[in-house]
């Protein structure tokens, strides 16, 4: 208490946000978990505790497990795509091009567009209509004589490694388009963060440009890759607007977040919706919490 003058004002300063976050973030997370264990499964509010009934139901719900498969395919393609493209663009820019600023902005711009708008445009581009009704990418492929490449895009119901459904890989294309530029910016910062002396030293030792990158620059990018994966991963787990803008309310493109929305808005099954929300939060925590621990430790070490 003696030192209140030292820590008191600081605490007072942050106390409004502590209070607000306690109520509106953690309080509501707690309330959501409570709803998920209640029997509130119709418009009328009821709060009797029924345990993990909604969760066990999800466990036996094929539509739910399928939405998880959709999410897995989407996430893998989305993550690999953005990392590869972002990394490549950053490497090219790092090697020095004329008008770097111009290209940087061009690559970054898609991120400024909301997923809804991105979705609507790509819905047109990825129109799977056959024959003379073909538009968008399929029509372009047709004109180029690459008819065999024209495909069903996001409504392709086939499997990939036994998972449903192949179309979700196409669903990831707009997301890759939107966020590759952002990942490029992260990598570019990573490239620029490698001290020029290190490269210089390697060159003095007779390393080829390839080996300079391979053994000096790339190892420095590991933290960037990790951060990029976390960012893409959590965006992916929550993906909702893009899917709704492109696929609408259909099982074939349903992700967990869309399924949650359908349960609550269409069927007023609040317990099941809250259970899905809780599982999504857990999924994101699994991704984010180890990362936070890692960065805190890394900061302490340095």
């Amino acid at each position: 208490m003696k030192n209140i003058r030292r820590w008191g004002p600081g605490l007072l300063l942050v106390s409004p946000s502590i209070v607000l976050i306690t109520i509106f973030v953690y309080g509501l997370i707690g309330w959501n978990m409570k709803v998920s264990t209640s029997n509130w499964r119709q418009a009328r509010h009821t709060s009797d505790y029924v345990g993990f009934k909604a969760y066990t139901e999800l466990n036996h719900d094929e539509a739910w497990t399928q939405s998880l498969q959709h999410l897995l395919i989407f996430t893998v393609v989305f993550a690999i795509g953005t990392l590869l493209i972002g990394w490549t663009l950053a490497l090219l820019l790092d090697k020095g091009v004329k008008g770097e600023g111009f290209f940087r902005s061009i690559f970054l711009f898609p991120m400024a567009i909301s997923f809804i708008a991105v979705g609507i445009v790509w819905r047109w581009l990825m129109n799977p209509a056959p024959g003379d009704r073909a538009t968008g990418l399929n029509a372009v492929l047709d004109k180029l004589g690459l008819h065999s490449l024209a495909n069903q895009w996001y409504i392709d119901g086939g499997t990939i490694f036994g998972l449903h459904s192949r179309g979700m890989a196409a669903m990831a294309l707009p997301a890759i388009w939107a966020l590759s530029g952002y990942i490029m910016a992260l990598y570019l910062a990573g490239f620029r963060g490698v001290p020029e002396e290190l490269r210089e030293a390697a060159r003095m030792d007779g390393a080829s440009e390839f080996r300079v990158y391979r053994h000096v620059v790339f190892p420095h990018l590991r933290p960037v890759t990790l951060a990029a994966l976390i960012i893409i991963g959590h965006i992916s787990i929550k993906v909702f607007d893009l899917v709704v803008a492109i696929g609408g309310k259909q099982t074939i493109t349903e992700t967990p977040a869309v399924y949650m929305w359908r349960q609550i808005y269409d069927y007023q099954d609040y317990a099941k919706g809250a259970a899905i929300a809780t599982l999504l939060l857990l999924g994101i925590s699994v991704l984010v919490i180890p990362y936070l621990i890692y960065t805190v430790r890394a900061e302490r070490r340095s």
């Binding site: 003058r5 004002p9 600081g10 007072l12 300063l13 409004p16 499964r41 119709q42 418009a43 009328r44 509010h45 719900d61 094929e62 539509a63 399928q66 819905r123 129109n127 799977p128 209509a129 056959p130 009704r133 069903q152 409504i155 119901g157 449903h164 459904s165 696929g247 609408g248 309310k249 259909q250 099982t251 074939i252 493109t253 349903e254 349960q263 609550i264 808005y265 269409d266 069927y267 007023q268 099954d269």
Partner: protein, 451 residues
């Protein structure tokens, strides 16, 4: 001045500054808290005064565009002219074919802040509200206004729950219509539109051979709509009705036959890009001569024949497009209806009762329906007000057997409909009839007792 004192002074000034910032924040927090408290107070005081005298009829719906909004506006005009002391407050919520509105409504009902009347599909969609004791039975409105004499008895039976009526139907739409393109039929050598299933398959084969899409369908809900009409065709109106009663059995051969037929349509005769089309897109394929048939509700007529200005197609009925009942459902009217309710604790109950009486009147029904593109629930209205399709439909409404629509909220509770929708979504991908039927049987076992 020594370095020590300089530092000391700096610390002090920064403390003073910090103190000022904290003080400012506290003041700000207080202002926010007070102003929100003030808002709350103001709101509650206005609602008490309005309950005491100022009559306002607040009506909640999802009619925000097209013919339905025009129809509602026409009703509002009449209401405001006849009830200058109790003006209409139009509380519409747009989006999601009503699903956004229902979510908003659920919250209002939970908070005991109901509108004076709200929209819902007539039938089992209202079951949640009834069981939650959120809406009143309104048999007295039917008796006082003589609605029982002018609306079909089967209709009233199908929208009753435990012998009581809970809403007034404003309009009737029909789900089981097969829309076709006369020019495509001619080109494909189909002499008359099909009436039976076998004729339908023969016609689809001919259309396929002629190089057009035999049957245009759209996204998932339109495929559920298609399933419903195929099932009614295979089972008949009575067989269909039996699926929704307590202890209903979905495991029979009739359901299997219906699902097999449905699978045949989806795997052999429909467009491959169905999941990307809206119901309008699918219908447009027919009037554009790219598809032979489309099965959709009769709002398709409004889209086909409505003005270009209203984003419709301005086509001529019986020339650019034609219609018959879905094969094997001739004489069955698969219906759905928008209706209005009387919530418990409606702030202006007397006005709401009057509104519901007005909605069932000949004047209101003949004002609203020609604009919305639907027919009245009453059978004694003036046919000359309606277009070619609706006049044909009015005749059918008087004579047909009635079947309650699943896709449009009449046949089953929300929870049951949800399970059927989920099973259908999976079926559309794996096309496994046995598994689908199994899921439907399970859903019926779970929900039929409380339907």
């Amino acid at each position: 001045m020594s370095d020590e004192t300089m530092k000391h002074r700096e610390v002090r000034t920064s403390r003073v500054k910090r103190g000022a910032v904290v003080l400012g924040l506290i003041v700000l927090a207080l202002v926010v808290a007070l102003s929100t408290a003030g808002c709350g107070k103001k709101k509650s005081s206005t609602s008490t005064t309005s309950a005491m005298g100022n009559c306002k009829l607040s009506v909640f719906s999802w009619w925000t565009g097209g013919g339905e909004a025009a129809g509602l506006d026409a009703l509002i005009k009449i209401w405001n002219k006849d009830n200058p002391d109790c003006p209409f407050v139009n509380e519409t919520v747009a989006g999601g074919a009503g699903s956004n509105a229902k979510a908003v409504l659920a919250k209002r009902l939970q908070n005991n802040n109901p509108p004076d009347s709200f929209q819902g599909h007539a039938g089992k969609e209202l079951l949640d509200y009834i069981k939650a004791d959120q809406i009143e039975p309104i048999d007295f409105i039917y008796n006082d206004n003589g609605f029982r004499d002018v609306m079909p008895k089967t209709l009233l039976d199908q929208i009753s729950y435990k012998g009581h009526l809970y809403s007034v139907p404003v309009n009737i739409h029909r789900a089981n219509i097969l829309w076709y393109s006369p020019s495509v039929l001619k080109k494909a050598g189909i002499a008359t539109p099909p009436k039976t299933w076998d004729e339908f398959i023969a016609a689809l084969d001919k259309a396929k051979a002629a190089g057009v899409i035999p049957l245009a369908v759209g996204e998932q809900w339109t495929q559920q709509h298609l399933l419903e009409t195929v099932m009614i065709g295979a089972l008949g109106a009575d067989g269909w009705a039996n699926l929704w009663v307590k202890g209903a059995d979905w495991s029979g051969a009739g359901v299997t036959k219906a699902l097999d037929r449905y699978k045949t349509l989806l795997t052999t005769y429909t467009n491959s890009d169905s999941a990307t089309l809206t119901w309008q897109d699918a219908g447009k394929l027919v009037v554009d001569g790219k598809a032979a048939f489309n099965i959709m509700g009769d709002w398709q007529d409004g889209y086909f024949s409505g003005s270009l200005k209203g984003d419709n197609l301005a086509k001529k009925p019986n020339v650019d497009y034609g219609w018959v009942a879905v094969p094997d459902t001739d004489g069955v009217f698969d219906w759905l209806s928008d209706s209005f309710t009387l919530p418990k604790g409606a702030p202006h109950r007397d006005a709401a009762v009057k509104w519901l009486g007005f909605l069932g009147s000949k004047q209101a029904q003949d004002t609203f329906n020609p604009l919305k593109g639907s027919i009245p629930a009453r059978t004694d209205t003036d046919p000359s007000l309606y277009d070619a399709y609706l006049q044909w439909n009015l005749e059918q409404w008087k004579n047909d057997q009635l079947a309650c629509s699943l896709t449009h909220g009449c046949a089953a509770s929300n929870a049951w409909t949800a399970d059927i929708g989920t099973a259908l979504g999976l079926f559309l991908q794996d096309k496994d009839v046995a598994k689908f039927q199994n899921a439907l049987v399970k859903a019926a076992k779970k929900y039929s007792a409380t339907n």
